[in-house]
């Protein structure tokens, strides 16, 4: 009971208090309505603008999830290839680390020349930014095999494939989820930023166009939805982690 008190009641009370103070500050006119609006106005905007918000949110989510899936799969496959072919790893890894330093959002105009103004460049950016965490973490996880276990598998005459499926992959699972949880949030953010820069749809586009119309409550409503999407995506990934790790220890 005391635990429930500490874990739920206290943070919820604090959160509510913040909201009340926030609304109070707005009602008292202490902050310009052009800069910040109150929670009540934001919730109202969320309801009245719901159809527009949801249809655009779905687009952002589609871009983010597609990029997340493609980038993570590509990172995982690359890590597996690096493990299987050590020479490839030594030849290519430094280059991939250099590529990670490319400010991909800055080359968006070039991407748009190649891929147009639609979802493709956004998916590409989300994928690009999901690729490296998965590559680095999965590679570390695959390599995280005790010398004793490798020796044991050698004594069983296990093939490299058996070593991979029965030892490396399960050993790497927690590492892979570290990357997935990271990318779940970053893919939403990168899709939003890409939409900001050039788009005629999606939450990022919506935020810009609301902003240009000085519709402050609507801007905040769109931003809130973006946060909720990122949180939900993260939550689903974390739940997936729990499920996968419990299945691993059948």
């Amino acid at each position: 009971m005391a635990q429930l008190m500490h874990r739920v009641v206290l943070p919820v009370t604090f959160g509510l208090a913040v909201l009340v103070v926030w609304q109070g500050v707005i009602e008292a006119g202490m902050v310009s309505k052009l800069v910040l609006t109150g929670p009540v106005q934001i919730v109202t905007a969320l309801i009245t603008e719901a159809p527009t918000l949801l249809s655009n949110g779905l687009i952002t989510l589609t871009e983010a999830v597609s990029g997340f899936v493609l980038g993570s799969l590509a990172g995982l496959a690359t890590a597996a290839l690096f493990i299987r072919f050590g020479a490839l790893q030594r030849a290519v890894f430094p280059l991939t680390i250099l590529m990670e330093a490319v400010p991909v959002v800055a080359i968006l105009p070039v991407l748009m020349l190649w891929m147009g103004n639609g979802m493709a460049p956004k998916i590409f950016i989300a994928a690009f930014l999901s690729f490296f965490p998965m590559l680095v973490n999965a590679y570390r996880g695959f390599s995280n095999v005790d010398a004793d276990v490798q020796e044991l598998m050698l004594s069983y005459s296990a093939s490299p494939e058996q070593l991979f499926w029965k030892v490396r992959l399960p050993a790497a699972l927690p590492f892979m989820f570290t990357a997935l949880k990271l990318s779940a949030c970053s893919s939403i953010v990168s899709a939003l930023v890409a939409e900001w820069l050039a788009s005629d749809q999606g939450l990022g586009y919506l935020i810009i166009s609301y902003g240009q119309g000085y519709r402050v409550a609507d801007v905040w409503a769109a931003a809130t939805l973006a946060c909720l999407l990122a949180l939900a995506f993260y939550g689903i990934t974390a739940a997936g982690e729990k499920w996968a790790l419990s299945r691993r220890t059948r």
Binding site: V149, L154, S155, Y156, R250
Partner: protein, 274 residues
Amino acid sequence: MTSASAASLTRADTASEATGAAGLVAQGVSVTFRRGTQVIDALKDVSLNIPRGTRAALIGASGCGKSTLLRVFADIVQPTSGTASHYGLTPAEARANRVYALVQQGSTMLPWRTVIDNVALGLEIAGTSKPERLERAAESLALVGLKGFEKSLPAELSGGMRQRAAIARALTLRPRFLLMDEPFGALDEITRDRLHFELLRILEETGATLFLVTHSIAEAVILSDKVVVMTPRPGRISQVIDVDLGQHRTPATREDPRFGHYELMLRRALHHDA
């Protein structure tokens, strides 16, 4: 098992019959490790013959090359020169045909697998069907007194129980050679004592040849028919002592005056070299 490997096994059996009781054989085995500019002679010209069915112990100070010799037999380390064989098979053939089973110094398990799935791993790799490998794993778990812990995770076992599981994991393969590297090193004396006699009983039941690395004099005497004494830098065999305490050993064997005699002999052999 492929027909080629079955053929090579048959050939090995006839070969060993022809040469008497050739078991575990090393001929002039040397192993040199290079670490940067440093050259370590882990083994220098080691020759050895352990007839099949023998219980042999390899004893020596730490760092004298015991694990390296075991790894040569297991085809994990390649000799720089010389040859090793099991029943006439090269270590590579012995490994490919799963003639030996290894019990390592640490009882490393895959932490996400249950005890029985860990114990069945070797058969799983060999492609044995699931019902059969689980049955055999359960059998060997019962043999080491771990019945009822099949579904536990390794982390839920005590160090002694994990060590038994590691022994069960090796027994599940029904090896002709049991290669054990200080398998009782991490255990308390009471558990170690009990496992000693369990191991002897299991060897009597399976007829496997034992090659046990240890640094305990008492353990070497109680468990073996033959004690190989090694000296360090470079790792060489200094003496081979036959322990004539009979086939069947019991806790009472330790009160046999000959037990103390062998202990003293070994102590002298080790100190003489130091």
